[in-house]
């Protein structure tokens, strides 16, 4: 019997090879977060001993953590893959996107325009993403290979049936697919794999002292992009991040877990889900993720 991680790895490798074989211009969405770090490792393993033949794409909101950007640049260089950075700031400067304003403003949603522009500019026809179906209930509806029309839209009512291990990758020019090799992984599977494979992560994922303030039950980072409201006090706490995204909507959790093993133990004992604890943008409405996905967000 294959172990569960071996099964999940084998399934992911199969999908990665299918996409590489059937598409002309794939790319891998690499945010520097743990899921995309695992995805990059899987791509490396799927095609070894050949190098990864496609670029990695990062949609930079301009509000990302410094540690994550450093990690992103270093990993891409170590693997010898081309790093394409698509900038939300440039989209704003060019008038393609309006800067979100008001309380709780975040550029997370604005990423979609930048992403779709990058897909068009580089003529990507397949994008690997590290999304997992356990993350969120709209994600639970996703296919492993998800068709997007020429506007980048996802239509959950009209998805291609996915049978056995057969993925229908046929598209017309201008359309694209999103491939999600980690679909069947849970947060714990990802961490177990990080431990087994020794996957390197940004330091943000492990406990460190950081100035944070509390808003809506979340600990948010001290950053000029996130003006504090009256009464929101900065405190120094030992924290770590469960997800890594835009600084304005990614919360930290109090933690002393400094190693992968300690993080795994902490997750096993937690009573709060990953996104529920740390993603402000998912809280906007019950359908926040669904709406973003329909628009073309990954």
């Amino acid at each position: 019997m294959l172990s569960r991680l071996d099964l999940l790895e084998s399934e992911a490798v199969h999908l990665i090879r299918e996409v590489v074989a059937e598409f002309d211009r794939p790319a891998l969405l690499f945010s520097g977060g743990k899921d995309s770090a695992v995805l990059l490792r899987l791509a490396e393993k799927a095609l070894a001993p050949a190098p990864i033949p496609f670029p990695v794409l990062h949609v930079d909101t301009g509000h990302n953590f410094e540690e994550v950007l450093d990690f992103r640049d270093r990993r891409a260089a170590e693997l010898g893959v081309r790093l394409v950075v698509a900038s939300v700031q440039e989209s704003i400067d060019a008038g393609r996107v309006a800067e979100p304003t008001g309380k709780g403003a975040s550029r997370n949603r604005a990423q979609t325009v930048t992403l779709l522009d990058a897909i068009a500019e580089h003529r990507f026809d397949a994008l690997f993403g590290g999304a997992r179906r356990d993350e969120e209930r709209a994600r639970a509806k996703e296919r492993m290979l998800s068709f997007r029309d020429s506007f980048g839209q996802w239509d959950p009512r009209n998805q291609r049936p996915e049978l056995w291990n057969l993925y229908n990758g046929m598209i017309h020019p201008g359309e694209n697919v999103r491939a999600f090799p980690l679909s069947n992984w849970t947060e714990r599977d990802v961490w177990a794999y990080i431990e087994r494979e020794g996957v390197e992560l940004p330091s943000l994922y492990f406990a460190h002292d950081r100035k944070v303030f509390e808003r809506d039950g979340m600990l948010l980072a001290d950053t000029p992009f996130l003006p504090r409201e009256p009464g929101e006090q900065l405190v120094e706490r030992s924290v770590r991040f469960r997800t890594v995204g835009d600084m304005t909507c990614t919360g930290a959790v109090p933690s002393t877990a400094a190693t992968v093993a300690e993080v795994i133990a902490e997750i096993a004992a937690t009573r709060v889900s990953e996104r529920g604890q740390t993603r402000a943008d998912d809280r906007a409405s019950a359908a926040a993720m669904e709406d973003r996905k329909r628009e073309g967000y990954f």
Partner: protein, 421 residues
């Protein structure tokens, strides 16, 4: 921490599909499984409580856990397959939660194609409906190894054993013709939690396991591991001094030194190594993804097959197959041109004839001129190039295929091969 979810190194994984007609309580059942196995986290529970209150329900509306799309919540129905994940101390589970509406039968087929077990939910008050029969037929057709008949809403029939026996008797008579290998019937109340995670005291006449116990106990095996060796080639991997053929082993196993047959060339070679990124394997087995190196230089590419020389698959340009038609916009009829995707090979296909149509409610086969959405029938296909296939009854991966519309690129048919030449 007694209320923490139980996490143990559960290493085995069971994929199961759930099916049931609208209002049979399928979403409630899944919600109950997640809730009572303590798989829900505090924020998810909180969101559920809030949503239940907003909808005016005094108690937790567990069904709302699984309805992920806006339209589903608004209409209170399930539209598409959702995948749920949970684990107990003994096993991890992936649920393919498939909708009950007849118009989404294609999604039931999708969910069942990789399932090791299917749960067919029946409302104890209504007995078997056309939808329950359809789901049992699909599970049989897709060769899902195990089936659970969950007779739900037992609380609404006074936990009456006779009602339960009547349904299981009717179901047994119906499924006797389907070739289902293992059927287990469990009386439950998803709403109250009877026999879902915990055994019920309300039905002392039932001495079997609760549903979750059964799911934890059923044997899980790697599919195809015992069969003949089949490796559909996905791509060639080249690096300086390296040339290997990558693919996921569809069935059987392969070790260095063994001989393999290459299709379509018919040439034989010897395996030098079975590689993974972690090193060479002593033996590669289904469903591992591997890269195979051969002793001879043969022209091998995507869509080819490496297989056991003694028992190779059939290189077929004529197929007969059970086809589930999935397109609302068109019908399948003789003369229809399509693409057939089989393993890693996509070929042009022409519908050469329709043998019959399966009447889902009676299991009778009758003549048909075409297949409409959600209909299943025996279809003849003529292919422009051969595919290397086995009967679906013996191999779900080399016996299954999908039909793709050449113009729209939609996946329009599920194909289970019954004959090939």
């Amino acid at each position: 921490m007694s209320d923490a979810p139980v996490f143990a190194p559960a290493d085995s994984l069971l994929r199961f599909a759930t099916a049931g007609a609208v209002d049979d309580g399928k979403s409630t059942l899944i919600g109950r499984l997640l809730h009572d196995s303590r798989s829900l986290l505090a924020d998810q529970l909180e969101a559920l409580e809030l949503a239940s209150r907003e909808r005016g329900n005094a108690e937790l509306d567990l069904a709302m856990l699984t309805d992920g799309l806006r339209a589903e919540r608004e209409q209170g129905i399930t539209i598409d397959v959702a995948h749920r994940y949970f684990e107990t101390a003994r096993r991890a589970f992936i649920i393919a939660d498939t909708p009950g509406h007849a118009q989404y039968t294609r999604n039931m087929v999708t969910g069942a194609s990789t399932a090791g077990l299917a749960i067919v939910l029946v409302d104890a008050r209504n007995g078997l409906t056309e939808q329950s029969r359809r789901h049992a037929v699909l599970a049989g057709l897709l060769r899902v190894p195990r089936l659970v008949l969950a007779v739900n809403k037992m609380d609404l029939v006074g936990f009456d054993e006779t009602a339960f026996r009547a349904i299981t008797g009717e179901f047994a008579a119906f499924t006797a013709q389907l070739g289902l290998r293992e059927v287990t019937a469990i009386p439950i109340s998803a709403l109250r939690g009877d026999n879902v995670v915990h055994r019920s005291e309300a039905m002392p006449w039932y001495d079997g396991p609760a549903l979750l116990e059964h799911l934890e106990d059923v044997e899980v095996t790697d599919e195809g591991a015992a069969g003949e060796f089949r490796l559909p080639v996905q791509c060639t991997i080249r690096a300086p001094g390296y040339r290997g053929y990558a693919g996921q082993i569809a069935s059987g196993s392969i070790a260095p030194g063994e001989e393999v047959l290459h299709l379509p060339s018919g040439m034989r070679s010897r395996v030098v190594a079975v590689d993974t990124a972690d090193g060479e394997l002593d033996r590669g087995r289904a469903p591992q993804s591997v890269t195979v190196r051969l002793a001879d230089d043969i022209d091998i590419g995507r869509g080819d097959m490496l297989c056991a020389p003694a028992n190779p698959p059939v290189a077929a340009t004529e197929l007969t197959a059970s086809v589930c038609w999935m397109s609302a916009g068109s019908a399948l009829e003789p003369g229809t041109r399509l693409l057939l995707k089989h393993t890693t090979r996509t070929v042009k296909a022409l519908v050469s004839g329709i043998g019959d149509r399966l009447e889902i409610t009676t299991l009778e086969r009758g003549p048909a001129e075409r297949l409409q959405l959600n209909e299943i029938g025996e279809v003849g296909l003529r292919l422009a190039q051969p595919v290397f296939c086995d009967p679906y009854a013996g191999n779900r991966f080399t016996g299954g295929a999908v039909l793709i519309d050449e113009a729209t690129h939609a996946t329009v048919g599920a194909v289970m091969i019954t004959g090939a030449r």
